[in-house]
Amino acid sequence: MSEDVIFSPLAWRNLQVKNRLFRSNISGRFDNEDGSLTQTRINWECQFARGGVGAIISSFVPVQMEGRIIAGYATIHRDDFIPLWQRLGEAVHRFDCKYILQLSHSGRQMDLPGVHNQHRRSLSSTDHQEPLHGFLCRAMSEHEIERTVQAFADGAWRAREAGLDGVELHAANGYLFTQFLSSAINDRRDRYGGSLANRARFLLEVIRAIRQRVGPDFHLQVKISAVDHNDILPWERKGNTLAESLQVCRWVETAGADALHVSVGSLFPHPLNPPGDFAFDTIASTYDAMLSAGTNTFRNYLLFRYSSLRWIFRWLWSRHQRGHAVEGVSLDEARAVRQAVGVPVISTGGYQRASLVREAIASGACDAVSSARALIANPDLPKQWQAGQDAPTRPCTFCNKCLLNAPKNPLGCYELSRFDGDHERMIATLMSIYDTRPELRLPPVPPAQNP
């Protein structure tokens, strides 16, 4: 098995990884409201490290509180969080697993704004609200852009200070970087809008700022949507093409990125990211948590809630999925990126079968793959592959219930069939990461004041 390409180590410019399977970025509301991470987060990440993945790309980690997707995700906006991330890094490293912090900013794609953000419009490249949920936003001023660029650089510095193995800029799937990059979203008339070069300016400035802050020897990769497919709602424009994205990738490489992580879709979730089913009953039970977050959420809730209306959303969703495989959904795009750049490429997209991963890597489409849902279902997927299995015994069904539960419930696998219909066992599995016994500290008592 030592000759298995999946388990052949990677030795990139600033990162060495023991195998080719990365845990793709996925989060869960495990952390504190102030952005500090918890033992649960450490437990969550360690289950994948223990399972044998070569590297973990963290949860979506905002570099500013105003860039949170969902309150309850750990952030990297404060220096005093460095020891917490350091602890997480130590925990993961014990399993010979690398930890790459995904530096992120939600922009207008803010699902649950929380007390920090609910009172204000989120920052974006545009004043136009997000079309699917109706998340409100306003176009960032140049000063705000400058401040945000610095926040990314500071975030990268904190990651390095925490002893983590690298950072990834989340420039895919509709978040702030996409909002600048996409021709369908960015309607600015300043030097950050208009031409592709202008639209890419914010991302490239962040890369350069990070390099300036952390130096050239710290791993920096960029996750990018190779094609926007922005027209989920038929009246929206399609957004960036593959050719435009390839050009961005070349600029990213030139600016100093060490690797590229290839996805598709200019919003999240998207029919092609993550691909698979759309569990209406699940989202009807969780989407209510988002009702106050957007101007279109109630409309969507009705479309999800009432079976007589579901055909509308099903039609919108499924028309983009036709002709696309679930596993390796964006492999072709990754191949194109890899041919366009000289840095390594990671392809994301529901990889669960070892044979497909081997073929992807062997064919030169990518250097590594990342997967999240398949690993949530089977955190020991690498070990199963290593044991010679092509696919796990109880594979991920790509039902997407894990994702659709995320706004309201703990992250994990909700596909009851994988637990033989045993609800208790499913809950026990979901709760396993909470099985913590932290030392509880007693808050200090102020000295009594003399009357």
Binding site: G134, S292, A293, G294, T295
Partner: protein, 516 residues
């Protein structure tokens, strides 16, 4: 006042901002919705109220005959208007009600209470009660046996009182009268205590009354030139087919030949229809089908192919099949009657059947057949008024319905020999009512009265018929109408049968005829 809580989220803030921004549009939409709801709330009941039609059903067939509908209301006037016309035009009504034109009121009915006269059927058409002629209009009359006796109404006899010419002329006259303006009519309704709701008042003001006036003006344009050419019909008479040509078939007076423009004749009696089945019906015998004759008469009363109420007409027709005239009140000398009967049987029975005691015998070799007017020699105007052109038009009626399609109309060359049942009620005599009494009918035409009073209902026991004193045309009369036999269509000539008998024979024959 409680202050509004500041918005917690940006979405709430945006929602409030949009709310204010959209306020004018929202108010407009609200106004539109409210207006729509109001329109629905008013419109639906109003549409319901002013759509469809309903007709009153009378349990008793005779009441149905008197007041029931045959479907002529499409040509009619609203009931509320019928009630106020006498108040609006007191000069035309001589401060009376419709009796001024010879209409009759059923016993117990009172015009003052808003009851309509006999001969008007009512139907609610699109929410408005409309009344117009039915069969009884022309076929209910009165008789009095003495000047101080109360008139006795008899269904089935000719409407000897009805001045249809006068009434139609009145309606055409008021078509453009200012008193028919909505303000005036509505005020008259208010004075009568007729209650109109707010919406109904507007409907009347802007729809019902203007349409009534429009209809009257249209009819005036159509009929007035014809009526202007005709001598006044006088009570108990009608021109059956000429108005029919103009109203039903859209012909113009100018299209009518001069010889056909006057077809005025008496209203016939309509007793004993069953034995008449198969006889040549109408004065000129132009149709041998009772059903077609009935339907054609209904059309003459204002029924159209669309509005016809076949069930209503057939109910009347069924009731008439065996309707008997009341027995003659005359008590002539039995010996004279016995002497007169053979004379009748010899000279008259072939054509007219005969009376046998209380029963009329509908037998006769030529009974119910058309006798050429070359032989009969009576006034030809009525015969000439029915033309082959009209026949062709009539045969197009009810083309789409095999049950009612006209097939039997024909142009004849004379007048039909009619049964003489109920003869005592059928004066004046001949088809055009040109001879006031049976006595006069047995006189040579030249000796028959040249001008006499029609419209009186007192029986003339001596002469057989109604009292009909001589008169001078053009001179005012205390009552009745001076019928001038020298006018076109009014000729008293012809039917000289019996005139050659001796005076005694004629007297005996008359006594026998008085038993009919």
């Amino acid at each position: 006042m409680r202050s509004q809580e500041p918005p917690v989220t940006a979405v709430q803030q945006e929602a409030r901002r949009r709310c204010w921004r959209r306020l004018p549009l929202s108010l407009l939409a609200l106004a539109v919705v409210l207006a729509g709801l109001l329109a629905l709330a008013i419109g639906v009941p109003t549409l319901w109220r002013y759509s469809g039609e309903s007709v009153r059903h009378y349990a008793d067939p005779e009441t149905h005959f008197m007041h029931g509908s045959i479907g002529s209301e499409v040509s009619g006037l609203p009931v509320r208007l019928w009630r106020v016309l006498p108040d609006l035009f007191p000069d035309a009504f001589d401060d009376q009600h419709y009796e001024a034109f010879g209409f009759l009121y059923a016993p117990g009915d009172e015009a003052r209470r808003g009851d309509l006269p006999i001969g008007l059927g009512t139907r609610e058409v699109r929410g408005v009660d409309v009344a117009w002629f039915n069969c009884a209009l022309c076929h209910v009359g009165t008789v009095r046996e003495s000047s101080d006796a109360a008139p006795r109404q008899i269904a089935g006899m000719p409407s000897n009182n009805l001045d249809l010419y006068g009434f139609i002329g009145f309606l055409l006259e008021i078509a453009d009268d200012p008193r028919l303006a909505p303000d005036s009519v509505l005020a008259a309704m208010d004075d009568q205590g007729q209650r109109l709701g707010m919406i109904e008042r507007q409907v009347w003001r802007y729809a019902v009354l203007p349409r009534v006036r429009e209809g009257l003006l249209e009819n005036r344009a159509t009929l007035a030139p014809l009526l202007a050419e005709q001598p006044p019909w006088g009570p108990g008479r009608v021109d059956t087919f000429n108005p029919y040509k103009l109203l039903q078939f859209g012909m113009d007076v100018a299209e009518l030949d001069a010889s056909e423009r006057i077809g005025t004749s008496d209203f016939p009696a309509i007793f004993h229809q069953r034995p008449r089945q198969g006889m040549d019906l109408h004065w000129d015998g132009n149709n041998a089908s009772l059903q077609e004759r009935n339907l054609s008469a209904a059309i003459g009363a204002g029924v159209t192919e669309e509005s016809v109420d076949h069930a209503g007409i057939e109910r009347v027709a069924d009731w008439l099949l065996d309707l008997e005239p009341p027995p003659s009140p005359y008590r002539p000398d039995p010996d004279a009657v016995a002497a007169g009967k053979p004379l009748y049987m010899r000279h008259c029975a072939d054509c007219h059947g005969y009376q046998q005691g209380e029963r009329y015998v509908f037998e006769g070799e030529r009974l119910g057949q058309v006798l050429p007017n070359d032989l009969l020699g009576v006034d030809p105007a009525r015969l000439d008024s029915y033309t082959e052109t009209l026949q062709r038009y009539q045969l197009t009626l009810f083309e789409d319905d095999e049950r009612y399609r006209f097939r039997h109309f024909r142009k004849t060359d004379g007048y039909a020999n009619l049964p003489l049942d109920g003869l005592w009620l059928r004066a004046p005599y001949l088809h055009n009512g040109a001879v006031p009494t049976l006595h006069d009918l047995l006189l040579p035409p030249a000796e028959r009265p040249q001008a006499f009073v029609r419209g009186l209902d007192m029986l003339d026991e001596e002469k057989g018929g109604f009292v009909a004193p001589d008169c001078t045309p053009g001179e005012p009369l205390p009552e009745g109408f001076c019928f001038d036999t020298s006018q076109p269509g009014n000729g008293r000539q012809g039917h000289a049968y019996g005139t050659e008998l001796t005076a005694q024979e004629r007297s005996d024959l008359l006594d026998y005829l008085l038993t009919f």
